[in-house]
Every structure is written in C-alpha cells, then in structure tokens.
Amino acid sequence: MKMKAGKTLKILTTVFLAIAAVLILFYPRGRAHQTRQRTISFWSCTGQKEEVPFIVMAFNAAQDSIRVLSNAIPWQEQEKKVLTAILSDNPPDAVSQFIPIVKWASRMALMPLDKFIERDQFDTTAIFPALWQEMRWQGHLFGIPVSSASYAFYYNKKLFRQAGLDPERPPQTWDEVIEYNQKLTRYDKAGNIIQMGFFPFYRSSLVASQNSPATATIIAWEFGASFLSADGKTVTLINPAMVKATQWIVDFLKPYPINKIEAFAAGFGYGDQQAFAAEKVAMMILPNIFPDYLRIHAPHVEYGIALTPTMPGHPIASSTGSWWIAIPRGSKDPEAAWEFIKYAASKQTQLDAYIAMDQNLFPANRTATNDPLFLQDGKMQIFVTQLEHAHSSTIVPMAHDVFWREFYTAQEQIVYGNQSIEQALGTAQTIIQYELNKALSYDEYVRTRMNFFDEK
C-alpha cells in the first residue's frame, strides 16, 4: 500500500513539473507576435479625470505605424512602480511625471535625449525657459515638458466689495497686499480669525491641499534671489533677497498671534474646504487649473485673476513646475517613444489637449500659448506672462525634498519667533548643503563604477 502511494505521488510530481516547464518555456510573451505596427507602452499618472490621456488617444488616431498602450497609475504609486520596472530591466518605453526630473535623471533612470533633439532639430526655444531648465542635468537633456502649471494672483471680488475695496483693482505691490489684508481680515465674537485677506504660510502639511506656492520664494525671486550656485554645488538659501522676503512675511503676520493663525489655518482642507474656495482667504496665488477647480467645488465664488504683486522697482516673479515625458533607461523602442514625445510636445497637440482637458493642462510650448485661439480668453495672457517670469520650484534638484522640508521648518521657526531669520535660514542651509554634498560625492563614486552617458 505504502509503495503504491509513493509511486502515485512521484508520477503526480513529474506531471506537475512537466506542465510547469512547458508553461515557462512557451508562455506567450508580449512582443512575440510580429505585426507591422510597433507597440510601445506609456505610463502616466491618473489625474482627476482621464484614464487614457488625451495625447495617447490623439496620437493613436493620427497615425498607423506606432500604437501607444497607456497605463495610468495612481501618482502616489507611480514613482515606485517605474523605478522598480527600470531596475528589473522591464521599463515602459515612455513615462510621464511631474516630480523633479533630476530626481530620476541623476539616478540614471532616464535616457538622455540630446541625440534625438539634435538629429530632429527639435525647437528648444519653443518651450518656456523655466520648464526647459528643469530638464537639464549634467549638461544633458532628459525629458520634454508637455504641460505645466502657471500661477497667478486670484482674488475674491465679493469679499473685496464687502470690505469696501474696488473689485476691479487688485493689489499691485506687496505693501498693498498688507494694506488690503487689514481690511479683509475678519474676526468672530471670541476674537478668532474667520477670514483673512492673504495668507503667506502654507507649509508642508498644507501644500498638497492648498495648491499655493511658497510666498517667500516668489518675493525673493522678485528681488533677484538665487538659491544655488551656477555649478549646482553651493546652496545659498540665506541671501539678502531671501532675508528681505522672509522679513515681509514676518511683518505681515506680526499683528496676529501665532495661535490665532494656527487655529485659522487648521480649517483649510481639500475640495470646497480649500481656503480660497471656502472664501476664508480673499487673495491667493493659485495655478491655472483653478477656474476649473472652482467651477467644480465652489461655483459661487466670484473671482478675478491678476499678475502677482511686486516689490516697488522689481519685476514680477512666479513659480512653476512641468509635466514631462521621458524615455526610461532600457526602453525597448526609444525611437518610437521619441516620435510620441515629439507629437505630444507639438503646438497643435498642446492646443487640442488644452481644450480637450477643460483647460487644465497649461501648454509648455510657447508657440501654442501665443496662438490667438489660446489668447482669446483674456485671462490667458496673464498666465502666459506669469510663466515667462516663472522660476522652477525644483530649486536644489539633488536634494529637492530636503530643501523644501528644511525651508518650511525654517519658516515655522521664524514665524513662531523661536529663531531669527538669519539663524533659521542658516541652519536650514547647513543641512541642505550637507545632504547635497553627500549626494554629489555618491554621484562621483557612481560615475567611476557605472558608465551610463557613453552607453550606445
């Protein structure tokens, strides 16, 4: 009896192993079947609406030789998935993201595009300079910006009228912002702040929900600040422009006790709880998606859009970031991916995408934004001007997250009155510099061990 059971098991095992071997050997692979059409995979992030991005549908409809298979991944997961795919040598052929591209380029996750750009004489001047600057690392270009965010100064006309201000005349200088703010700030009976004119203190816990860039960097850029030396090796967070800009924030917040400010800001949330949508803050620097955002979440808000205020005698400044498409290292068909990228970056595609996407995607291509069709809507000229004067929010690419964590920590220390401006910015600068040095020295080491740029 026992003998027989053993034999049966032996046979079963053999059969099992045989089936497994057959499956492994003959499992249908993605590209095994040959067709005339080339297929490439493209990983994007799921945005608010689209599952298959507009550019993919348009590209597939426009030609027959290349078919793009799109895979939209939730943005929180995308970075991990793409990096894992590259590491396991099975990356998508093209990928789109909005995080600082240098974060990936410096880790050798992306293919330099210089060859393609030169060969096809891709018009680099058509892209807004701040966006183009982001694509560069170690003298190479790693991606093409396809869309961006342009920030402008939004103000609430109803609240302006209530405060006795002219709803057609937004503040033009930062001094006027302080003045307007005093008129627009309201309290309840208990003395709590229930409405403010402007709020310059959106820190790390509020950034994601409020969509507003750091006021201090915008003012500092107006003063001509630079936070990193030209060679990318020395952090200069503490510079006269930044000190003056931070002083403005301190002066702005001086009349309000910190606990009142904190209690007020604790009410800012997502969707219709966003500070501008909830009419808690009357003036805010917000991106170009906000007309659509307000239409969805707070259609009753009556707003105007203007250029950001300036410091007397200084030009305007703004912040931006780009949505780029790049080709991961190890892509199986970079040529086809490049064709797709070129199509996505072209003027007509950008104009079409802008309209198809409820005007959410601000073109990265200047020839598109200068088109009369685009400028039909009067407010667009404001966003274009702002973008021309914009600086990338990727300030220290090799230590991006550390930069912003330290920046907000320093702001907190200053606003809380724990440290002087010089002290807080100095501490932050030391930490960022330390992390940057570490990243640079690791980078040097890696170059001696991995030859990437000269590959192929």
Partner: protein
C-alpha cells in the same frame, strides 16, 4: 513511542516522503527566503552603504550609524517624540482596555450589545480615522473644542501646537481601546474561576480587593503580553502623523518611522533609511528584553 525514528534509522521510503514534505512546504520556504530573509540580509548590507536603489551601492562602513548617532538632529528629535508617545500611550491604552473589559464582563442585560458598541470604533482604519480626527480636533470647528466652549473653557490647538500635538495623537489612539485588546482581556477575565472571588467574599473583601488580588494577578500574563506588543506598536507609529501633520508643527510629531519614511521614499537615501530601521530593531529589542526581565518578577503564571 515504539515508532520513534531517528535520522539514521530512516529507510529509503521515509526519505522519499521527507523529500515530498519539503516539496509541499517549498512555496513557503522559497517565499520566505526570497521575500523575507533576502531583503533582511540586504537591508543590513545597505545600511553600511550609500545607496539609492537604482545605482550601485557605495560601501561606507559604519558611516550611516555614526552620522545618525553623532550629528543628525532629527534622529534624536524623532527618538524623543516616539518615546514620549510610547510612554504616555501604553499605560493609558492598557488601563483603558482593561477597565472596559472589566465593565463588559458584567452580567448586565444586553451586554452583547455593549460589547459590540465598544468594539465598533476599532474597525475604522488608520487613514480614515486620521482624516476624521483632523476635524474632531479642529480648534475652531471641532467637536472637542465646541464641547469645551460650552463650559467656558478655551480649547487648545490640539494638532497645531507643538506642546499639544503628541498628546493629541495619544488621545486619538485611545479611540480603539475597545478593539481586539479588550476582547483578549475579556476572554482572560472569563477564565478566572469564580471560586477565587468567593474566597474574597468569605474573607470580607470588597470589589477593590477582588480586582487587586484576584483579577490582576490571574490575567497578568495577558496584560504583560499586550504591554510588550503595545510598546512595539507605539514605536512604529506612523500613519497619524503622516496624514495629519506631516511631522509638524516644529517637528513635534516627527516620529521615528515618519523620519525613516522621508529618508527612504522622499530622499531615496535607502542606505541611511536601512540604518534607521536596524537601529529601531535594536531599540525595540532592548526595550522588550528589559520588559521581560521586569516581567519575570511581576507576572504570575498559574502553571508554574
């Protein structure tokens, strides 16, 4: 006992069957080796390196550990925050669940209903709970401060003040005292023979004597086990701070695991983050060993 087989006495058939046995457990063994042991070993190696997942690791010896213990201000800040959270939270959680268990151990009419009611909150998961508590603790519109205002007490800035933020997170974690812990305590309570309580009655002791001299010693192994577990859980606090405060204000809720997360997944300093993880293991190990040493003197095991 007569069939006892030692390794040397196995006949070929038994060897074959042993081989089959290994085959059947192979999925687990392979899974463990590939997804368990390998990452553990590699994370130790990476903790001695500069490493960012995509590029070759650079061996730097104890560099990461030296930097952590030597001059990383956030390391000590996060240790302090986590320790504070643990020391305040664990006694409250254990005491709270125990009291709740004693309460629902009474033979009151409809006790099953109460047990269910107390258990329900613990079903809510971390992120949802955090989003909910963000509003409960809102200083201007929140439930807590609204209730305090009725009594004329100005409520604090629960999450927005560096002095209150850690305490608020402790408060929030008490939400689930009626969960699995309470059930285990309840089961332990029901295992206590009623004869022991009768003895106290005969001796003329009241409820306190029963609780102090019967209940607590009899369930002390369960209390001990949960204390050990809760300390470990508390050291790993993450979600609340990640969702509600991002470590602020003024880094007052920058807990150890949150800092580790920033290092690993924002900065991609995987080597440094691995070093942080290994230090956490050492810290938890030491604390747990200490607990066992103390536990030996305090815990009463019936079987001994």
């Amino acid at each position: 006992m007569k069939n006892k087989i030692t390794r040397l006495q196995r006949n070929p058939l038994q060897k074959k069957q042993a081989w089959l046995g290994y085959l059947f457990v192979a999925p687990w063994i392979i899974g463990f080796l590939v997804f368990g042991l390998y990452p553990i070993v590699m994370s130790f190696y990476y903790s001695l390196c500069q490493y960012d997942v995509l590029r070759v690791p650079q061996f730097i010896g104890l560099g990461n550990y030296k930097e952590l213990l030597g001059h990383d201000p956030y390391f000590w800040k996060s240790i302090w925050n986590t320790l504070f959270f643990t020391v305040v939270r664990v006694p409250l959680v254990i005491l709270g669940s125990l009291l709740l268990a004693v309460l629902v151990n009474n033979a009151v009419k409809g006790i099953r209903f109460f047990r269910t009611i107390f258990f329900i909150p613990s079903i809510v998961t971390g992120v949802v709970l955090s989003a909910l508590w963000l509003w409960l603790l809102n200083p201007q519109y929140g439930l807590f401060n609204s209730i305090l205002a009725v009594f004329g007490i100005p409520g604090p800035l629960w999450l927005q003040s560096p002095h209150w933020s850690k305490f608020s997170m402790v408060l929030m974690s008490l939400w689930s005292i009626g969960g699995g812990r309470m059930l285990v305590f309840l089961a332990a309570l029901q295992g206590i023979p009623t004869s022991l309580y009768e003895v106290v009655d005969i001796d003329g002791g009241g409820w306190w004597a029963k609780f102090r001299h019967v209940t607590v010693p009899m369930i002390s192994p369960v209390i001990f086990l949960w204390t050990v577990l809760e300390v470990i859980f508390s050291f790993q606090v993450f979600t609340e701070a990640y969702v509600m405060t991002k470590g602020g204000p003024l880094n007052s809720t920058l807990f150890y695991n949150l800092y580790l997360y920033y290092k690993a997944f924002d900065d991609f300093s995987m080597g440094y983050a691995s070093a942080l993880a290994w230090l956490l293991l050492v810290i938890i190990l030491v604390v747990t060993l200490l607990q066992f040493i103390v536990g030996k003197k305090v815990v009463y095991y019936e079987g001994k």
